[in-house]
Symmetry: C2
Subunit: 658 residues, 2 copies
């Protein structure tokens, strides 16, 4: 007897409700509601091979409604992926299991993205779809020809980032992305009527999307809608009308099924209603076998693809890019030699553009962009023509005024693989995309944020545009490198370091204002240790000045004044505190000896909050910075008003010593 669609879907429902019950926490409603849609998608449409979850040309599937993680774990298990095992699912939401509360890309193959923060899954999928079309244009259909599928809930569609993501996808006409919207009219607080009156498909059509609706519990209707979506050249939104917690006799269709176990009685009732009389975590062999056939559907096309790759003229380059390996010899030493030979006084944002000029020529996998600040962020170079709907081979994206959508798209590109995304906005607007920066870090992705106008040094635009707390608040984030180079050479070194990090993002904080080149001698990458001694004390050392970015030259000036007064002064450049913290104790002790501030006074100088600098100065060191909001005025006036000039700081240090 053939296994029915309904039985296949009920296997998902059972695993979801039983795992949530066992964990005594979780979200059964979504997996139960979307089980029928997921069965059709994974059974008949999704291109994947359970044996080879890393197959480069697989379709990407993103569960944007990440709280419904059991849907994905059930699908991976049922289709025969090596993980999760049934024991992993039994241990859902426990430390020992890769089946975390929300799907984590670093715990399980087949989890293409970490999701849960609503709206971002769909927005990352847009980035995946960009990467797919770009690589298709750079290589060809033989190597890159796949779709990106998303399951999203009402929450994903209500978040602001949804507007940015679909606007970008519509503008770029990413027809390979298909969003299956779990339209169940329920959010945590209750009916969607409590908070929204929107005609969602009309909004999607307004941004260039195709829309279609179906009964999310009728496989025939689901197939019709997906076929229509595939046939349409636009990105597609498929409204799947579903009942949340489908099958739960008293709770289905209500928010009670959203985020809590159903309870033993309701689960018993659900088993009865669904005709599912198997014990928890026990999937009948015929049902499991049918699911595993789905997991093998892709084996043949994958083998054919392997054969095409083996014969392909661009094989080595394709494999290099997909593996995320930088090209041999693609380093910036030649470019830096040129800087040493011919020093430049430029803003570090300009220095970044110069470094990118070299990088983009060396590395064809970079894709740049800006959230409508191209000329300010200096992110475009001659090698990067625009990526448009008419030419996906371009390497520069005009993201529009969409900082959050941009950052999430970069995460998606990095997750897809084959490209290295970087893009910019003003540092203060890191706040607009902070939730996506966090996902770059959590997902361990090589994404480079080019954040310019990094202090009051931007001048007249005033406090809304002047970062104060941003540097330190970003340094507090795990697994993110914040780099604040001081001149052309440090900027190039920081870029080299950022590109070399294949498991974490970097954020470059760059000046608007011109800065003198302080690094004038050839050296290995000195920024690699996070902090280094730029100048050693001439007199007996009594002071160590720590500075970053645009304040390093101020520190050099202060040191001259202090030396003139007889106080030996080291100047330590600290472009990346995180890298410094990773150095061996001996190196850290050499740069910042653990002696009393009475013996050697440690002083930090950074045009931002002093919060946290105690880590390097100790409590009895001095910290020069800005612990209030900025103001609107020309930059030199602000540096003077906030006391961040050599003329203001040097006397204070001398006063302190006397």
């Amino acid at each position: 007897m053939p296994v029915s669609d309904q039985s296949l879907a009920n296997a998902i429902r059972a695993l979801a409700m039983d795992a949530v019950q066992a964990a005594n926490s979780g979200h059964p409603g979504m997996p139960m509601g979307m089980a029928d849609v997921a069965t059709v998608l994974w059974g008949e449409y999704l291109k994947f091979d359970a044996e080879q979850p890393h197959w480069a040309d697989r379709d990407r599937f993103v569960l944007s409604a990440g709280h419904g993680s059991m849907l994905l774990y059930a699908l991976l298990y049922l289709t025969g992926h090596r993980h999760p095992t049934i024991d992993d699912i039994r241990n859902f939401r426990k430390l020992s299991s890769p089946c975390a509360g929300h799907p984590e890309n670093f715990l399980l193959d087949g989890v293409e993205a970490t999701t849960g923060p609503l709206g971002q899954g769909l927005a990352m999928a847009v980035g995946m779809a960009i990467a797919e079309r770009h690589l298709n244009a750079v290589f060809d259909d033989d190597l890159v020809d796949h779709r990106t599928w998303v399951i999203a809930g009402d929450g994903c569609l209500m978040e602001g980032i949804n507007h940015e993501a679909i606007g970008l996808a519509g503008h770029l006409q990413l027809g390979r992305i298909i969003v299956l919207w779990d339209s169940n009219k329920i959010t945590i607080d209750g009916s969607t009527d409590l908070s929204t009156s929107e005609d969602i498909p009309a909004r999607y059509r307004a941004t260039g999307w195709h829309t279609v609706a179906c009964d999310g519990h009728d496989p025939v209707d689901i197939r019709r809608a997906i076929d229509e979506a595939i046939a349409d050249p636009r990105p597609s939104l498929v409204e799947c009308r579903t009942i949340i917690g489908y099958g739960a006799p008293t709770k289905q269709g209500t928010s009670a099924t959203h985020g809590a176990p159903l309870g033993d009685d309701e689960i018993a009732g659900t088993r009865k209603a669904l005709g599912w009389d198997h014990p928890p975590f026990d999937i009948p062999a015929d049902i499991k076998a049918r699911w595993e056939e789905f997991g093998k559907r892709g084996a043949e096309p994958r083998a054919a693809w392997d054969a095409r790759l083996a014969d392909h003229g661009e094989r080595a380059e394709f494999e290099r890019r997909m593996a995320g390996r930088l090209k041999d010899g693609a380093d910036l030493s030649g470019y830096i030699d040129g800087l040493i030979a011919d020093p430049k006084t430029v803003a570090t944002r300009k220095a970044s553009e110069m470094a990118l000029g070299a990088i983009n020529d060396l590395l064809p996998e970079t894709i740049g962009g800006s959230a409508d600040l191209t000329g300010s962020n200096n992110t475009k170079t001659s090698a990067t023509k625009p990526l448009t709907k008419d030419d996906y081979s371009g390497r520069y994206i005009y993201y529009g005024i969409r900082e959050f959508g941009m950052a999430a798209a970069m995460n998606g590109m990095a997750l897809h693989g084959g490209v290295i995304p970087y893009a910019g906005t003003f540092l203060v607007f890191a706040d607009y995309c902070r939730a996506a920066i966090r996902l770059s870090a959590l997902q361990r992705q090589r994404v480079v944020y080019v954040m310019t106008h990094d202090s009051i040094g931007l001048g007249e635009d005033g406090p809304t545009h002047q970062p104060i707390e941003h540097l330190q608040s970003l340094r507090a984030m795990p697994n993110l490198l914040v780099m604040r180079p001081a001149d052309t050479v440090e900027t190039a070194e920081c870029w080299a370091l950022a590109l070399a990090q294949d498991d974490r993002p970097s954020l470059m904080a760059l000046s608007r204002q011109n800065l003198p080149q302080l690094r004038l001698e050839k050296a290995d990458n000195r920024c690699a240790k996070g902090a280094y001694r730029l100048k050693s004390a001439k007199n007996e050392r009594r002071i160590i000045l720590l500075a970053t970015g645009s304040e390093l030259h101020v520190a050099v000036e202060i040191a001259e004044k202090l030396e003139a007064a007889g106080y030996g002064t080291d100047v330590v450049s600290m472009p990346c505190t995180e890298l410094f913290d990773e150095q061996p104790a001996s190196y850290r002790e050499d740069i910042l000896p653990d002696v009393s501030n009475r013996d050697v006074l440690r002083v930090s100088i950074e045009a931002g909050t002093t919060f946290g600098w105690e880590r390097y100065t100790g409590l009895h060191g001095l910290r020069f910075g800005i612990d209030r909001f900025g103001a609107s005025a020309p930059a030199p006036d602000l540096y003077d008003a906030f006391g961040l000039t050599a003329d203001k700081i040097a006397p204070k240090i001398l006063d302190h010593l006397n």
Copy 2:
């Protein structure tokens, strides 16, 4: 001879281009493009009285495209506001002038909101419109009956927050809000065609808005469109088709006019093209006089309103609320006495709900809400029925999954006055609304953020939902109080403190998990000093434990173990580091004496990053926290795995001492 509409508008254009030129920075394009629309609006529609910019029933005008600040400064000057003066405008973007690069609400009356971070002005206007309808429903048409007007650019409409803001406004059918969209098809990077293909009016209609278009340079057509917008009961988007930099002979219609001075030659050409032959900053008397008549249009209705207020039965209550004064005797001492008498072990989110029960009964001006986490944030109490399109008198807003829009709306409500907004989400999603939290702080507004699930203590939802860097990254923000209470009594004390701050926002970080009540004796508000000694050492003091929130009871347990081992241990509760930093040195010295850690070891314990805790422990103290992302598991397992239990910490402290 009557003054023409064109001359009135040209006065704005001239001030804008000349001020930007004098400052050698700024944005002339928008003021020049929208001058005709602004002239019609301020000349004929906007209800205001230049003599009384604080008139409670004035229309609110928000320049969401804040970079066009010279438009607003010109309007305020021309209509005869006391400030800015013409000298203020001459000194545009200098430290001495209130005419900052972007409009700052704290520098000039008539600047209703600080704008510049795109999208937020419009979203704050939605909050203003909510406050207006609410106060209208609570009082009546005699006291509250005004509109909210917005000028927004393409950037404001492209930002994600626009989706959230208009979704909320459409759902609540805020017909008193009218958005004048400066549709000039230009962004910084160039044509809007570079980055968007959206049919913006169609999107607005999809969310329940009325839309209409006009020629933004034809006063007759502008009046027709505004009249239609006023007549329609829905919120309205008026597409004003304009030419950016209107009048600049070679630059108009291009991004060259957006954010840079036009230059002397172009300005001379503009003068010629506009027929404006007056020197910079010189407005002919007849034109100035006509503008000043506009500034007096509102004098009569304002006087009539004053008379109505004088006779109104609710006058005292209305004035109290608009002044932001808490009711006399509205304190929580009675409620706290009850807690002392009958201690409770509950989560601090529950303790917050209990405190809110008392607060919402005492203070009718509170308006609560949640971004679809009502039952998790515990923000709704019996006194707060929903605020809906059918009943604006409600005091609870189902904001939907719109964290950023919610936060901006709260800013708008607070700026409007007459209400005290509070609302919640999970602490980790502070990242979604961080840019609006910053504007609460910069604008000095009493907004209370109720951020629950404040650590790994939330358990199974895993790293996407577990704050790590959030507490410290928020403490780094100027003018924001971060409060992390430890039990029912501290939660009530923190709420009392938050409500008492009339010039800054507060953010309550609250636990998901239950916590024992540690405060068992009557006392004045001990949280008021930010940190206090909960328990004094019994043996000779060798250790000071500093803890916040859910780790305070852990510290108490550790202290018991250390005392048992003979080490005298203080336990300091530190619910608000910012308030502690504001205490006199003598108090701080009493709590945290500046002695060597060898004599008295300072130890911090907080289930978040240790970054920044050096400020209180010194370099040689100990810091227990979490410097990586979290994990998915039951909370007790996580506390154990991350080493944040008394059993794990006490031995480490003893080891360190030995």
